[in-house]
């Protein structure tokens, strides 16, 4: 798919979203901040009706502001609790814009998705219990690089997924948005239905493309209706279904649809739009049911970029594993710290006034203070008399989370010796991590490079699967492994968590950083990489898995500032105990 096509799809998505923001869920815009995204946002604003609210949701929004709570000002003035609407309720009937969606905390994500599902927010905070309608569409701006992605549970609920990263500004032509046509389409929308055949075709297509979630076909059908409304058709046509499939299903596809012809054994060629168009035209008159299926698949195939097709073919075995490490990304929310009580205190910078506790503290004294105030002749007194003594400050306990990064040497030399034993030890350590609610990550190095097999996660089952499937063999790019561990530790630190690195290797590096063979350079690079870890003061343990643990492993551990543990010739339990002891 060319950049021009990607842009025109993005424009179409903006129009269709504007027709039905709530039904289509929203748009996930994967793009760095820049003029192309700006232009797209401008067009979207032009397409949306001016009456609906357009709310920006800041990344680190407090729960109180998001969901609503007690309005202090009004409460003090009125002398009774007054509720303040949260951003979700304020967005009712309009659009919410989430910037930096890839950094969204799991708590915020859950509140947003819950409101999208129920179309209302339920507030149980600060002595208030409220239900408020919250029907809105979401624009999630995902600025993630490489392996950072917006939370999957949010993406699942957004109909359109567009990627503007590869669209150059010269391709991003201006399209005029016809607001009148869009609002006319909104009027028509309620009369439009998809028929049984179309529902079936959309589901079949989703299944063929390996899309598990049923929200995808449901959203695609809403998009098809929006498309029909925009074109002014009296009913939903094949074109609308094809467009919806292209916009909604194609970006979620996990499996390349196989051609039906049985004699064709080789994998399908990346289809050019021409050839697939011919295919569907041929069969159009034989069986309408089939034809619709193929219209959809052809539309989707045309929308899949060729390199993605190639990549999908190789990785289709793990089609369900398209979690992109979001499990790890989601869980960083715990660092917000949990309330650890409230205490009397002064309002200094950084202190968080606990409104409700302050009011509670002041409340019982009101009649008394009123009498006092009246006696002393104060005329213009506020409804609530709050004294400095009443101030209550929230205390938070920051729980630092530990992420244990396992760096496993899966090279030929290690495999030969004790890869199985090392795996056993890692499994036992994983069990301990589970008990302590640590997150774990797994990096393996072999051949010429290191690979992040498992981004930080708390899902032990995934860690175990990853480990079990880890093959051994090839060179020992130790430097690459340590570099990867360092990079990951660094990003974990930036999230406010504590990384611990456990390296299991025989220390016999023979592949240098640049992938060249040769022991001396490889060892030098490994030492350099190890020093990085020490310089950053990252807690590390080096487990020497070589059959005769010796000087080389010890030296490396020293450079790393790591605790050195030769793997004893005993079972994995001993090792895991030793590692745990040194980690504290």
């Amino acid at each position: 798919m060319t950049a021009g096509l990607a842009w025109s799809d993005a424009v179409t998505a903006a129009q269709l979203f504007a027709v039905d923001p709530i039904g289509t869920g929203g748009v996930l815009v994967r793009s760095r901040a820049g003029p192309v995204r700006e232009r797209w946002m401008e067009m979207l604003r032009a397409a949306l009706p001016p009456s609906g609210p357009l709310k920006h949701l800041p990344l680190h929004i407090a729960d109180g502001r998001l969901l609503g709570g007690l309005d202090l000002n009004a409460t003090l003035l009125a002398g009774r609790p007054v509720a303040e609407r949260g951003l979700l309720a304020e967005g009712d009937g309009g659009v919410l814009i989430l910037a930096m969606a890839e950094r969204l905390s799991s708590a915020t994500t859950v509140h947003i998705t819950a409101a999208m599902d129920a179309r209302e927010t339920i507030v149980e905070r600060d002595g208030l219990s409220l239900r408020m309608p919250a029907r809105f569409g979401v624009i999630a701006l995902d600025e993630g690089l490489d392996d950072e992605f917006a939370p999957g549970s949010l993406g699942d609920r957004l109909g359109f997924h567009i990627d503007l990263n590869d669209v150059p500004i010269r391709e991003a032509g201006e399209f005029g948005m016809d607001r009148a046509a869009i609002s006319a389409a909104r009027e028509r929308l309620s009369a439009l239905r998809t028929n049984a055949e179309q529902v079936e075709a959309m589901c079949t297509a989703a299944a063929t493309l390996g899309i598990v979630s049923l929200r995808a076909p449901i959203l695609a059908l809403r998009v098809a209706c929006a498309s029909a409304a925009l074109s002014g058709y009296p009913a939903v046509e094949h074109d609308d279904i094809a467009l919806a499939a292209r916009l909604v299903l194609a970006p979620r596809a996990l499996v390349v649809p196989q051609e039906q012809a049985p004699e064709q054994s080789e994998p399908p060629q990346p289809p050019s739009p021409d050839s697939s168009g011919d295919d569907s035209a041929d069969k159009d008159n034989t069986d309408t049911d089939r034809a619709l299926d193929e219209v959809i698949l052809a539309a989707v195939q045309a929308a899949l970029p060729t390199d993605v097709l190639a990549a999908l073919r190789t990785s289709s075995a793990r089609s369900r594993g398209r979690s992109h490490g979001k499990a790890g990304a989601l869980q960083k929310s715990n660092k917000r710290g949990r309330p650890a009580g409230v205490s009397r205190g002064d309002l200094r910078a950084g202190a968080k006034l606990s409104v409700i506790e302050t009011l509670r503290a002041a409340a019982p004294w009101q009649p008394l203070r009123r009498r006092e105030a009246a006696a002393s002749g104060e005329l213009s007194r506020p409804h609530i008399l709050i004294r400095k003594d009443d101030f209550r400050i929230s205390r938070f306990k920051q729980r630092t989370e530990t992420t244990t990064i396992f760096v496993v040497d899966a090279s030929g030399s290690a495999a030969l010796h004790r890869l199985a034993e090392a795996k056993g030890a890692v499994e036992l350590l994983l069990a301990d991590c589970y008990i302590r609610r640590d997150q774990v990550a797994l990096i393996a190095f072999r051949g010429s490079a290191a690979e992040l097999l498992l981004p930080p996660t708390r899902s032990l089952a995934r860690a175990k699967r990853c480990l079990a499937g880890l093959p051994g063999g090839g060179g020992t790019p130790l430097a690459a492994g340590l570099d990867a561990a360092f990079a990951l530790s660094d990003s974990i630190r930036r999230k406010g968590q504590t990384p611990t690195v456990i390296v299991l290797t025989d220390g016999r590096a023979n592949i240098a950083r640049d992938g060249a063979q040769g022991r001396p350079r490889a060892e030098e690079d490994a030492i350099n990489a190890a020093r990085q870890l020490r310089a950053a003061a990252i807690t590390a343990v080096l487990v020497d898995t070589s059959p005769r643990p010796g000087a080389s492993g010890g030296a490396l551990a020293k450079e790393m500032g790591a605790r050195y543990l030769p793997m004893p010739h005993a079972e994995a339990t001993t090792l895991s105990k030793a590692v745990l002891a040194s980690m504290g």
């Binding site: 149980e124 529902v199 598990v212 989601l330 009011l359």
Partner: protein, 340 residues
């Protein structure tokens, strides 16, 4: 409130639906956990259940949903009023209370009534969600993401059936017995083992993978979204039927027999699986009895045990966090062994 999707219109997910119905028939079974894929209808089913439950009798005006037929379990307020004269009773819908993730502790357990304190300078207790959920359901969406201090609080109350509030000079205790219903997606974090144990039944929910039911799910959802009123009307008859079924099962429940042989079978099954404590056997029996009642039978047979065993026992196996051969598989194996 937005109209809930009709329970009977939910396609497939039989295990989860059965577990919810069993909990509706016998709250003593002790809660349902539904863990599974995104978009597989977990929350939909729980919200649908609310609309299905027959009404219950409460003391009119009681803030804690006291049961007028059980004076022994009255809250302090009802006790005081009962001493003065006969209490009036009223029919109310069974509460299905949402515990949203952002809830603050004061709303969960209850706290000083702010309004009365502000307006009149009085100290009065304002009951929280736990009081509202008494004799009903407490629903936690994304239970695995619930904050730890709220989890601790729930564990405590779920174990004792009573909520004790000691704050701001108030000293209140009131009954809080509710069926805990939790849903979540295991990809986003696992549930704390202590909380897991509080659920009577645990079900695994998967997106259907056969095309026909997938199409049916999408079709019904689409119909519901485009014309909610018409869709609800179409299913009203089924809903009424199901509601009646629950009501008659509840009546039948006390008279359902469990033979010694069946009890022995249940015990054998639990022993074969090595579940800790007696909670497994108890839940298994209660669930099987509720199932028998739902089916209009007067005795529990092996088939009932067999059907409820996976959800009643799956989460009680001595957990080896690294064994992903699947607890369901282990339960199935044990069932095959015990029942032959």
């Amino acid at each position: 409130m937005a109209t809930a999707f009709p329970f009977s219109a939910i396609v497939g997910q039989d295990e989860m639906k059965l577990a919810l119905l069993i909990a509706a028939v016998d709250p003593k079974v002790g809660g349902v956990l539904a863990f599974g894929d995104r978009g597989s209808g977990k929350s939909t089913a729980v919200r649908a259940l609310a609309a299905l439950l027959p009404k219950m009798k409460v003391v009119a005006g009681c803030r804690y949903n006291c049961n007028p037929e059980r004076p022994a379990e009255f809250c302090d307020e009802c006790r005081a009023r009962a001493a003065k004269g006969a209490l009036k009773s009223a029919q109310v819908p069974v509460p299905v209370v949402d515990l949203p993730l952002g809830a603050t502790e004061d709303r969960v357990v209850g706290a000083l009534d702010l309004e009365r304190a502000l307006a009149r300078g009085e100290k009065a207790f304002e009951p929280g969600l736990l009081a509202r959920a008494h004799r009903g359901f407490l629903y936690i969406d994304e239970a695995n993401l619930l904050e730890d201090h709220l989890v601790d609080l729930l564990l405590d109350v779920a174990a004792s059936g009573e909520n004790v509030v000691e704050r701001e000079g108030l000293s209140i205790r009131h009954p809080a017995r509710f069926v805990l219903v939790g849903t979540g997606n295991p990809e986003e974090g696992e549930l704390r083992p202590q909380l897991l144990d509080r659920f009577g039944m645990s079900t695994e929910v998967k997106t259907p993978n056969d095309l026909a039911s997938r199409i049916e799910v999408v079709r019904r959802r689409d119909e519901f979204d485009s014309d909610t009123a018409a869709f609800t009307a179409t299913w009203a008859k089924e809903e009424t039927k199901l509601r009646k079924k629950i009501a008659s099962a509840r009546e039948r429940l006390p008279s359902v027999n469990v033979s010694d042989l069946t009890l022995e079978r249940a015990t054998k099954l639990c022993m074969a699986l090595g579940t800790d404590g007696l909670r497994g056997e108890l839940t298994l029996m209660r669930a099987a009895r509720a199932l028998a009642a739902l089916e209009g039978k007067s005795t529990v047979n092996d088939e009932h045990l067999r059907r409820v065993a996976p959800s009643a026992l799956r989460h009680r196996l001595r957990r080896n966090p690294l064994d992903d051969s699947g607890s369901s598989v282990r339960v199935d194996r044990a069932i095959a062994e015990v029942f032959g």
